[in-house]
């Protein structure tokens, strides 16, 4: 099963490689991983998506908790939560018809065109992974020049929060 794990960790050099190293050393897979400092610059917030049977996920959370740099973690999948991903897509638009089509599609998906070139648009879009996948699918693959995705960000619903 797919799990989204939120991790609060010390913003120290090497903290990220401790997490990544744990996954490679123990043969766990990382589907996506995002990390950036929080409002407190001494701590970083990481969202990690992984897949595995329950006993493997249990080991993953226990092993992550054992890392000295990990302050706290929360398996978001255990409760109601929100996931979002940011995507930037560069799309080839050579004709007026193509421009119109893409513009329309971007509106439907509630994205934004953030850069316009002679023959291309760059589209910004946020949403769940499924929604971003659906947008990509709806475009001719020959038109897609470049896709950049942030990986999943996650947060629990309601008053529950992961804090130092």
């Amino acid at each position: 099963m797919r799990h989204t794990i939120s991790i609060l960790l010390e913003n120290e050099a090497g903290a990220l490689s401790r997490v990544a190293g744990l996954f490679s050393a123990r043969g766990y897979n990382i589907e996506s991983l995002t990390v950036a400092p929080t409002e407190d610059p001494s701590a970083s917030r990481m969202t990690l998506v992984t897949r595995g049977p329950d006993e493997v996920i249990e080991q993953i959370t226990k092993q992550l908790n054992k890392l000295v740099d990990v302050i706290k973690l929360n398996d978001l999948t255990e409760g109601a939560h929100i996931e979002r991903e940011l995507m930037l897509v560069k799309i080839q638009v050579s004709t007026a018809k193509e421009r119109e089509e893409i513009k329309h599609l971007v509106e439907i998906f509630r994205g934004k065109i953030i850069d316009v070139g002679d023959t291309n648009y760059t589209v910004e879009m946020t949403g769940t992974g499924d929604k971003l996948d659906a947008f990509i699918k709806s475009i001719e693959s020959a038109q897609i020049l470049e896709v950049v995705r942030s990986g999943v960000l996650g947060i629990a619903r309601g008053s529950k929060s992961l804090q130092v």
């Binding site: 090497g14 490689s17 006993e55 249990e58 908790n65 000295v68 130092v164």
Partner: protein, 573 residues
């Protein structure tokens, strides 16, 4: 001393002194010269110059295992740091508290492929509990404090501190923190009283219980409580190789070691038990055999300090998280308060079954052989040392014979690389133990292959007059490899025969030690007595043993505990 500025190198040495470090095992080199200069100018810490950095770490490890105090090693950057890795991994697998200080190139050179530069923090990361790169001399003292705190608390382990040269040459005020708190590391665990209650219920309902205890009992200083708990219940107890000595081997409730080369009675009891009480043990594959066949009828209680050890390999019914002495004390209190006892009538039947298994005398070997049997040497070593020696072992057949035939009644006497299985560990580990216990017998049980992996330390032993007794079981083979080739590879002895062995007597003598070669069974006892009578010198005893002897009993890979192979000696009996 307070508020006085000093060099980083002096801060480092003062911090180690503040941690009550007695011995620093190390090897100098370019970037640690300031630290070595600081060592020269003080007399609180004795530096032990080894002959290879791997040995520095093993010696610190032997010191730690035999005392319970953290071992400390100091090496230079680059090859000095990489040479420590085997030692660090060895300690990590066995959860040994250690602090390893590696020198690093000047911080402005880091990343430039400077002379003797290696990413020590990166290379060691998978085999340390934690590691640090110190970038600011002002943080050196607090980093050392953190390192000792992390290494010695919770599930212990090695911590590496990488110290760039400039950190040792800059000045700062030395202030050593009394205590340290880390928001991301809190090793204190509170015992869950509901789980204690459930465990007591299950323990009292057991008809065929077994206590399975491991190295965590020794690391967690829970020996007294383990003995009280086991005697209170009159349950049989088997110990992992790492746990030997926690419960007295000569006690009637002890079934000996379990696992691949454990006793018949221990493994059969594991297979037949209905309640398994695991204490400070981690269900290692050499212990469990095939997991599918492991303790098929048992409900499992698992006491451990490390949550990640619980239900890692074997599904646990009742987890008991906490330190061994605290949780065992809770169980003892609960059992006493319950006013109930485990049903002694039911246990009589179980003990009867165990005694039947015991009567197979699974460690029997041919005592009439014209060749020296390795088991016989260990048996006689046990008698001559009255079971009181500190025994460091290398890895292979001799290690298993030592674990089977030396009956440890006390903890911290058996120093062996269990998890990593590091050949070359024995001699340097014995050195660490001998420094810690200068007036005790310290023995290195080894083979002619293992000893050559750190043979250079004979020189260190001479320099520091360490009267270690080396018991080498010389069969001319990589014995355990040969055994597996005989059993599982059609007797194709690929690369397991050790040709061109040195004359070990002359070798020992050339280092300034006493060398002995023993070739007949009738000479074994006399040689041991003679060797151990020499109190002030290292004696290297080369026992030429039966090259065909194998370690039995054996649970082969993929087999269950009840599918042990007994020795051919016994099959024919």
């Amino acid at each position: 001393m307070a508020n006085k500025e000093m060099l980083g190198a002096d801060i480092l040495v003062n911090a180690l002194a503040a941690e009550n470090v007695e011995y620093l095992f190390g090897y100098p080199g370019g970037v640690v010269l300031h630290i070595y200069d600081a060592i020269f100018k003080q007399d609180k810490i004795e530096h032990i110059l080894v002959r290879h950095e791997q040995a520095a770490v093993h010696a610190a490890d032997g010191y730690a295992r035999s005392t319970g105090k953290p071992g400390v090693a100091l090496v230079t950057s680059g090859p000095g740091a990489t040479n420590t890795i085997t030692g660090i991994a060895t300690a990590y697998m066995d959860s040994i508290p250690m602090v390893i200080i590696t020198g690093q190139v000047h911080s402005t050179l880091i990343g430039n492929d400077a002379f003797q530069e290696v990413d020590a923090v990166g290379i060691s990361r998978p085999c340390v509990k934690h590691n640090f790169l110190v970038k600011d001399v002002k943080k050196l003292a607090s980093t050392i404090k953190k390192a000792f705190y992390i290494a010695t608390t919770g599930r212990p382990g090695p911590v590496l501190i990488d110290v760039p040269k400039d950190v040792t040459t800059e000045m700062a005020v030395f202030e050593y923190p009394e205590t340290i708190e880390m928001r991301s590391y809190n090793p204190v665990v509170t015992v869950n009283s509901e789980q204690i209650r459930q465990a007591i219920e299950l323990i009292l309902s057991a008809k065929r219980p077994v206590i399975y205890s491991g190295g965590g009992v020794i690391l967690g200083n829970g020996v007294k409580e383990l003995i009280e708990f086991t005697r209170l219940l009159s349950f049989p107890i088997t110990q992992t190789m790492m746990g030997l000595g926690a419960y007295p081997a000569t006690d009637s409730q002890s079934l000996g070691m379990l696992g691949m080369h454990g006793t018949y009675e221990a493994n059969m009891a594991m297979h037949g038990c209905d309640v398994l009480i695991a204490i400070g043990a981690r269900f290692d594959d050499r212990v469990t055999g095939e997991l599918e066949k492991f303790c098929p009828q048992a409900k499992v209680i698992h006491l451990d300090i490390d949550p990640a050890s619980i239900s890692k390999n074997v599904k646990v019914d009742i987890p008991l998280l906490g330190t061994v002495p605290e949780v065992l004390q809770e169980l003892i209190n609960g059992l006493n308060a319950s006013g109930r006892q485990a049903s002694s009538k039911d246990l009589t039947e179980w003990w009867g079954q165990i005694d039947t298994w015991r009567s197979t005398d699974c460690l029997r070997y041919n005592r009439k052989s014209d060749l020296i049997k390795p088991q016989y040497v260990i048996e006689k070593l046990y008698e001559v040392t009255k079971g009181e020696a500190f025994i460091a072992s290398d890895v292979g057949q001799h290690q298993m014979f030592a674990a089977q035939f030396y009956k440890f009644d006390k903890p911290r006497r058996w120093l062996s690389s269990g998890g990593l299985g590091t050949m070359g560990f024995g001699l340097p580990a014995a050195m660490g133990a001998q420094f810690a216990h200068p007036n005790e017998s310290v023995v290195c049980i080894t083979g002619e292959a293992s000893i050559q992996m750190c043979i250079q330390e004979l020189s260190t032993c001479k320099q520091f007059d360490l009267p270690i007794k080396i018991i080498m079981l010389n069969n001319g083979f990589l014995g355990m490899v040969r055994q597996w080739q005989e059993m599982f590879y059609g007797k194709r002895y690929s690369q397991s025969y050790v040709k061109a062995l040195p004359d070990f007597v002359k070798l020992a003598e050339s280092y300034g030690h006493v060398g002995m070669r023993i070739e007949k069974p009738s000479d074994v006892v006399g040689a041991l007595k003679e060797g151990f009578a020499i109190k002030d010198r290292l004696v290297f005893m080369d026992f030429v043993i039966d090259p065909t002897e194998n370690v039995y009993p054996m649970v082969a890979a993929g087999k269950g505990h009840n599918e042990m192979v007994l020795s051919p000696e016994m099959e024919s009996a």
